[in-house]
Symmetry: D3
Subunit: 308 residues, 6 copies
């Protein structure tokens, strides 16, 4: 029942305030050159969805097809993605662009970036084929590679990461982080697009996994739920603000396994083939072949403990 | 292929059972006064989305606009929200309303509540401007305030929380929790709408954060993923049921930092400026300026440990 | 601006590569018998949504109805689900079907399975009525059973689990895991459809909860956020691949409470009425009535600790 | 490309003008009593669609069902229509309502009207069963009654008319004409909701058919495309405005056939069993059993006629 | 406001009546063999839309593409249409199928029909290229062939007709008429799918055009709005029902022009190159080269005529 | 059932043919300068819908608002239309643009055109206020101006025409005709955007009305269903093609009434205040105050006429 309405004067004043205070964000005022709208989260989400159906053809979207016909669907989806992503890249470039003559430059660069991004998709797909195998082989509960594709959050998060990382490498602003947050929201796996992740990576369950922006991860690494690969501290500049861009996250070498809830902080190295136990807290480098577990103290049983 | 269909008799009997057993929930039977449908989760989600585009104008939704025109979009969106939320508030009031003459009372109260809620939006926006700054300044990986708005789950969860808390303060049943769960589902950050959170709050990554209903959090607090601010125990009444409404969650004073995985339980106080280390388990108050870390026992390395 | 387009030759070659590399997945080639499309994640998500509105009638979907009319909505929704799920079951059976004459067998079996699945819904609803009561009684912040239905992720995850488990028991491939991942994505609660969970189960907050495929959980169990009921190790076969289907997850007996962040691994038994404290790491069986907490070492305070 | 935007001042002034000039319509200002929004054309269209699926169960909408299950779909659709139409009737009553105390009266009357309207649906369906038979028997190109339901515009227009006429009889403002225009837009058949049409009515092709507000049509009448049953003149009042509500359209008795393009004007009577030929222009009554054709003059052939 | 609801007993009784009376249609009871749902009007409309974008690539739908990429979109759209139309053909065959063993026959025939239908599309497109040229050349107001494709109802109606006619030739029940009615509803042009229409056909404006089931139309024919090519009378069988399938509509030879409002009835022949003037009523054959106009009587002016 | 699929080779060959034959249209190849996609019919339809809600605020769309708030909705809708129409105008200009340096020219001109178009909307609205009054006063069945807005196809067709005509005057290619065909499809009223129509125009019922491109219509003219204001003949150029742009449709002076089915052809003038009777065929000018009816011959009754 909309019987009565608000006093228009109050409404006007609220709108007025909201318009004024939003000056605190002022996203558009800062773009004297391009004056474009910001990239759209909704469209980036659609692009992520479409790319998933392109990279795993036959598994998602409207591609209920076989063999040759699949090619049409891949081509049509890719052609659509091409247009959408080029527009979003252009907006993102304009967002970061300060010179008032730069508009056409942004348009041209967005085309070039799109071209290079699309050209990297086959290689990304090749890596995902291996990642899927790693998931299938790494989890006894996984009954087929198809199940890994259709139902493993780690495979989805990794697919989005490899896409976001490619855009990150092409120095596109904003979009890589928007993509990684889309995957984070859907899976609870938070991989910064700057992270470099090798082949056959597998993360099972995945909720709460955090992989920082300057992480370097080798091949055949396995990571379980709740693992943090984070920064220990970060430098502050003279104004007390954190310095951006400094390497501050771990290097994980090939064939490392990190069990659930482990926390690995700072620019340390976990040597090849190491196993980091569940809930371990690690802030210094360990050599190849290490086996790290928590102290046994935690295993004590206090039968009579009442409070929790 | 729908060649054959189920025996209608079986179908009838399943429907019959489902109708009968659903009496166990009986949501509508308990409303002798108003007999309204329950609030709609789908519409609450749409309201959350619309309010986000109002509070961060130019960042979300269809508002690809600049300067003055933004005002139209804010006004139009707000006018739509006004109608929708008034209807949902009315339903929520009717849900909790027991007296059979109370219908018109619910309609009138929902209007008054809506008016007050909308009037609080500019103040909420003002706080969010500061929260965004806190996110930008608190994370070296964050390259602009815009990135914080577009891609930080903590900013979104906090925006929804500040909205939900405003409705909670207006004593609206059901809706605040529905909103907080919408944010929880999208981000993994679970803030009870009853929690009181000060200015410039920042939570990074956020997955697994739990902030209880009676928490009180000061200004400039930072919280990382997997942190629990929970209850230690709760009182049971004579029937063995938990007593509702008792203060049972921590008080976190200004300028506290709580690192990932820390668990802080009970009505204790973490003094101003304290730093609580990762994975710390804390169940008693600590004074201002405390630095709490886990014991070093966990840092031991057991090179020969075989099974994990 | 779509002013210019990509060189068609490059585009062709990308599509060609994507088509070829996708042979690494080859989902359809392996189905010489049925050659059906794979089950659709989107439709499974719609089925989960529709079933939720059937099991909690009046709380979700378009069912803003009372009393008798509810019956029509339940029947109509169920009849729609019947068709959709039968088709998805058929696709899932065909996916796993190897014999080229099996097509009609898959169609027939999908009908029989659908019949049995639908017939199990009233029993599932009956259990959910109890689960909702457990949530209401288990959390002092929960003000009504309706709030538990509308806003508790644990209730939703459990509803989907009970559905997925029913399909798992009927030996349907793929679909149960697709369903459990839909709930995992929405709630952060990851329950393998194979897990057997007793009555009045309650998980609060839930983010990061992992419950493995061969878990057996008794009645009246409570589990908080971040709890893992996982495998400690798993057997490898002669090729170094994990052996599938071996019991490897815990047995949790009746009336156990497991607090947040606890990790319980391996085919061990937690005896009836035990309480497992937060962050506890447990890899061996404990008798009935145990109270397990972490060692006190972690409670030490290091006031002067600088770096985190 | 949204590179540049309009001068906000111009935009403001356009909006200002549009707001001011729209005062010429002022739909809402005239409702001092109820101040409701107007009925929604979009929702009326949805209601027409839903009612079609209820009246022809199994032919439209999501009702791909057989036998008993159909009942659920009919009930669910009808329950949805009930809510929607009650709200639209209330708006329509409020629109026409002038007394400031009348709000609750409108709510109550809308409920009573909805009740009576729904109760008339079975009778409407009964008439439509006969109308479908008339279409099947009246057109040699129609191969089954099902084809008449699925593909004959006359059947659809008549179904909507019978619905609109029921609301017209219940003295609901606005809605009947909105419904008839929905059918007119879809079929080119324009039947005023006030027209009274007997059983087994059939109009083939139908484009351009116009049937006026005070027409009375008997049973078993057939009408072809382009037929007008209109007013010849209408009375003007002292201000020169047409007097509303005066009988001014033809009475067509039982068993009359009117061929394409015929125009019948004024409050005349076409006697039972008459046949009115194509393109005939008729402005006076004809007795039962008449056969009216155009004069033969028009049949002359002018072989050498050059201009068209 | 849904404050009060209808007495459930009345509701039940209405649903009961609607279910019972709908037995008058009984669409499904008559299909002892296949028991399939009826074809879906909504899906047929989507198929028409998709086929339009395939036949006029680049003009409709999401195909904002050039050159080579267009191929992907055509292929993807066609592959989607293939699946949808095969399912609808199967339903239509089952609808008309009476033998209880015929299910598999319908499935097989639907595949064969779909194959043949798709194979006819290039030829249909070839004809449409010519039809578009005819429209462009036939109307001085048409400024480009593209305008004819984008904005001429006659081109759309003809495209749908050529599709519907192909299905008619393949003896598919129901679907051809459903398609022709979709075009009729959108354009006011009613062409029965059985009509045979030659090359370079053009109908301008088109509203009210009716072309009967057994019409045969030559090449380069032009037809204006309101033209009827209908049956004069039709035979009745011994029961007084019209005999189906008898040739009863005109034959229009090559290069005929028929101006607006002309009515041509019966199995007569309009000879090659004839011109039929506006509003002419013609019920006998005319030789090649005829010029037919109405008698001049109608041109008289009655200055003093008062009533209309 | 998608059990089997088409031979990919056949599919490939169909796609190949469709791609090749579509070269007959070649919409994009002809744009060497801009190479833009064509304007989108779907978006033009959305623009028409949005503009209707702007011109009749409170009657359509989501604007269920009163007084002041309406302003926000008008502004927001207009700002959205601004972006959409500017993009479509740019595409339309590029479509007609032949010089390869003209891209930026098209972008700039589309902005200027959009500005001028939007500035003309208040004047259009002012005219529509009068048109609505004319409808209300012209039809005794019309009970309020609101009914005319909500349910009269003539009002809708005229609103779209006034919009399309404004774009026509601004020399935008394609879009005006696309708009007029959208209104034609919805109402059966076909007004060429070039036609100049005075104030207080009213067309009742409207199905089959055709108003040609070079018509000039004065103030207070009334036109009924099935009226054609067309061309009699048109000039052919040396190639036998019609010459475009020549005045060839009637001039209708102020206060003329034209009854249903009348056909008026050629560049003739119908003098002020004339009344043209139903079905009249008129191909020469008539002076002011004429009363034209058909000869009486047609009123003869042939009682014994058997055939129709």
């Amino acid at each position: 029942m909309n019987d009565m309405t608000m006093d228009p004067g109050i409404m006007m004043s609220i709108v007025e305030d909201l318009s004024r205070y939003s000056g605190g964000f002022a996203p558009l005022d800062r773009q004297p050159g391009c004056a474009q709208p910001l990239p759209s989260r909704q469209i980036m989400a659609a692009i992520a969805e479409e790319l998933r159906s392109v990279l795993f053809p036959g598994y998602f979207g409207r591609m209920e097809s076989t063999g040759e016909n699949l090619r049409f669907h891949i081509g049509a989806a890719l052609d659509g993605v091409r247009r959408d992503i080029q527009e979003q890249v252009r907006r993102a470039l304009c967002f970061a662009c300060t010179d008032s003559d730069a508009v056409r430059g942004c348009a041209g660069r967005s085309m070039e970036i799109t071209r290079r991004f699309l050209s990297s998709l086959p290689m990304i797909q090749k890596m995902l084929v291996e990642d899927v195998t790693a998931a299938y082989e790494g989890d006894p509960a996984c009954l087929s590679p198809d199940e890994a594709i259709l139902a493993y959050p780690g495979v989805y998060a990794l697919a989005v990461h490899r896409i976001a990382h490619a855009l990150f490498e092409l120095e596109v602003p904003l979009l890589p982080r928007m993509l990684s947050e889309i995957a984070h929201g859907a899976t609870g796996i938070d991989i910064h697009p700057g992270a470099r992740i090798g082949r056959r990576f597998f993360t099972d369950h995945g909720t709460g996994v955090v992989i920082g922006a300057t992480c370097i991860i080798g091949d055949r690494v396995r990571v379980y739920q709740g693992v943090t690969l984070g920064a220990k501290t970060f430098q502050l500049d003279d104004d007390g603000h954190p310095v951006k861009g400094v390497p501050r996250h771990p290097i994980i070498e090939d064939d490392v396994v990190i069990y659930s809830g482990a926390t690995i902080l700072g620019r340390i190295t976990v040597g090849r083939g190491s196993i980091i136990g569940g809930n371990v807290w690690l802030t210094r480098s360990v050599p190849a072949g290490s086996r790290i577990t928590q102290g046994s103290a935690r295993h004590e049983i206090f039968q009579s403990g009442s409070g929790i």
